[in-house]
């Protein structure tokens, strides 16, 4: 008790002592209350999915659901080849712990794990309660990765391929355009910039049918390139890179020209490395968008072999019935790479959004 009291006092002191040493008032309590409620609402559903993904199929079917993944506790008993599940058994007024050998109708044959030589005991099943323990089961993941002819692996491969290739092309292509628009003065540069930015007004949802036609004409339906090409020029990316390159001093370029560097060399060896911070932001947003893309792949990719992870996940419940365990494992796997990236790059991402308003 005194320990709990000290901890509570410590927590209170931690919260109440504001930066600058001013005491907390009621508005601080409201603030913390709101934020903590927010933590529950934002985090709990996702943590719940992750926890559930480690449950066995039987554990998943229970209602009310158990908070932690649980499995039957088992014990090795002399004379029996497999570990046996343990039950807490009511016998008269006392309760004992027995291991179940087999079940016959409403009765179970049990054995005392400490004295197996005493023989089988017959117990009515309503008197036996299974004993369970915390158990992180990986069978959902193992079954998922092994199942269905390995289509999950092709989905992973397709998603990674699209994300990596589209991001690399986006970075090179957009920085080339940004270089032209920031480091050359030429007639039409303003118009070119406007043309690029104007594409912001044409979201994919509005030109779905024509994009499908064009991708068909290019013979790229059911081909990963069909979802890469339409999205690799990102107007916000060009804009961000251009603004950044404007801050790179022109003298550097002039010096390079004195040394007879080609324009491409100046771009590739001089400007691109200097624009790394802006490239990082553009790369993060590109990876995020490509990994999570849904509508365009949904229209362009119609065969399971070319599915991305998002399509495989969305279409999963349609086939083989719903196997919740594998579905949950797949949801977790699909979210994992970006979630991990976010933990390390939070600052980049949030400042990137705050300064550009893009995603």
């Amino acid at each position: 008790m005194p320990e709990a009291a000290t901890m509570a006092a410590g927590a209170w002191a931690f919260v109440a002592r504001r930066r600058g040493g001013i005491r907390a008032d009621w508005t601080d309590w409201v603030t913390y209350g709101y934020l903590l409620l927010g933590v529950v609402v934002m985090l709990a559903p996702v943590l719940w999915v992750v926890l559930s993904s480690f449950k066995s199929e039987g554990n998943l079917m229970e209602f009310p659901p158990t908070l932690w993944p649980e499995a039957a506790r088992t014990v090795e008993v002399r004379g029996y080849p497999r570990p046996l599940p343990i039950y807490e058994v009511r016998m008269g007024n006392a309760t004992t712990t027995l291991a179940q050998v087999r079940r016959v109708g409403i009765e179970a044959k049990m054995v005392d794990p400490a004295r197996p030589e005493a023989g089988l005991i017959t117990v009515p099943i309503e008197d036996a309660k299974p004993l369970r323990e915390f158990h992180l089961g990986t069978e959902n993941y193992r079954r998922l990765l092994a199942s269905a002819g390995g289509t999950i692996w092709s989905s992973i491969y397709n998603t990674v391929f699209i994300t990596v290739v589209a991001t690399v092309i986006t970075l090179v292509m957009n920085s080339m355009a940004a270089f032209a628009l920031s480091k050359y003065r030429f007639r039409g540069s303003g118009a070119a910039l406007m043309a690029i930015l104007a594409t912001l007004m044409v979201p994919a949802t509005i030109v779905l049918v024509p994009i499908y036609l064009i991708v068909s004409e290019l013979r790229l339906v059911n081909n990963v390139w069909g979802v890469i090409l339409p999205v690799i020029s990102t107007p916000t990316g060009v804009f961000l890179l251009r603004q950044y390159m404007l801050t790179i001093p022109d003298e550097l370029i002039e010096a390079a020209r004195m040394d007879h560097a080609s324009e491409w060399r100046i771009f590739w060896k001089l400007i691109l490395p200097l624009a790394t911070p802006a490239l990082a932001v553009v790369a993060i947003f590109s990876i995020m968008s490509r990994w999570n893309d849904f509508l365009l792949p949904l229209v362009i990719l119609n065969k399971p072999e070319v599915y991305t992870l998002q399509l495989a996940l969305a279409g999963y419940s349609d086939e083989n019935g719903i196997q919740y365990g594998m579905l949950l494992a797949m949801t977790t796997l699909t979210a994992l790479p970006l979630a991990l990236g976010f933990i390390f790059l939070q600052r980049y991402i949030t400042t990137g959004i705050a300064s550009t308003g893009i995603k």
Binding site: V39, M42, Y184, A314, A339
Partner: protein, 306 residues
């Protein structure tokens, strides 16, 4: 930049621009024109040369209605149900989302501990894909799910959250707010942080109440950022598709069917594919978004001068 590029040939910058402009021409500019072409031609044939010209027939089919307040009287009742849903969904979702984003941004802007942690918690659903978001909430909301488990422990009965039209609609609003509010929170937080601290100091000297500080200082100073957030939120809200498509499939019935869902169904999911109608609906949607944005910009500029 001036003298340095004097020796450079005039076409060099265009060479650097070429890949980008080519992609834009093929995948942004051309589609707008092709969309117009589709919207005035008929049949389920994808190839433009084999589509007969039908004039404004697609538009009139789409817009024809006996009574605009009753979608059942329209020749394309699903389109009007989607429009009707959007008319309720967009204002509700945008208001709830910006409301929560603003409250959260204000809370995060206070002198609090563990700000980075709290900001990360509110933001991280933005990183999740729409499919993951929908799957997560499907799992929480299913009949034997966590929400019913918690409610059951409190003595309530199990509820099927997504099979009742109005409940499914409200959950669609909630889930899309949950998924996207972090994005707007970050922008609003940046806006709040750019308000100079000495204005607040001065208000404190004058013993202004917190409410007065909020309405007289915070809101007016935040107005430009709020406007941007509002426009972005409306544009995206009108185009809502992914999360709801996976969460409810537009149902039960048509209770949560959105306009983009109608376009997707008409053009791709329902046979025979009606590209003309889908393109016409896209154009109407695009035009509505354009008019909205232009109007907002003009109104806000007018307000700024007054």
């Amino acid at each position: 930049m001036g003298s340095g590029d004097r020796g450079v040939r005039r076409w060099v910058p265009w060479l650097f621009l070429a890949p980008n402009l080519a992609i834009i021409a093929v995948f942004s500019l051309l589609p707008v024109l092709v969309n117009v072409m589709y919207s005035v031609t008929g049949s389920d044939n994808l190839w433009p040369s084999e589509r007969p010209f039908v004039g404004f027939e697609n538009f009139s089919t789409l817009l024809e209605c006996g009574n605009y307040f009753d979608p059942a009287t329209c020749s394309r009742d699903l389109f009007w149900r989607a429009v009707g849903n959007a008319i309720v969904f967009v204002p509700t979702q945008v208001a709830v989302m910006i409301g929560f984003a603003l409250v959260t941004a204000i809370a995060l802007n206070r002198n609090i501990r563990a700000r980075g942690f709290f900001r990360g918690v509110f933001f991280f659903p933005v990183m999740l894909s729409p499919v993951v978001v929908a799957m997560t909430w499907l799992w929480v909301l299913q009949r034997d799910g966590a929400l019913n488990g918690v409610l059951g422990a409190l003595g309530f009965e199990q509820v099927t959250w997504l099979t009742d039209p109005s409940r499914a609609f409200r959950w669609s609003v909630f889930v899309t707010v949950w998924a996207h509010m972090g994005f707007y929170t970050i922008i609003l937080l940046a806006g709040l942080q750019s308000i100079p601290a000495d204005i607040y100091e001065a208000a404190k000297m004058d013993r202004a109440s917190p409410w007065r500080v909020f309405t007289r200082i915070t809101l007016p100073m935040l107005k430009p950022v709020l406007l941007v957030v509002f426009i972005l939120a409306v544009i995206r809200s009108v185009q809502t598709f992914d999360e709801i498509y996976v969460l409810t499939g537009g149902g039960p019935g048509t209770a949560t069917k959105m306009i983009v869902h109608y376009i997707f169904d008409t053009g791709f999911a329902v046979m025979p594919r009606n590209y003309g109608l889908a393109a016409a609906a896209s154009l109407i949607l695009g035009a509505a978004l354009f008019v909205f944005t232009a109007l907002q910009m003009r109104l806000s500029r007018g307000g700024g001068n007054a």
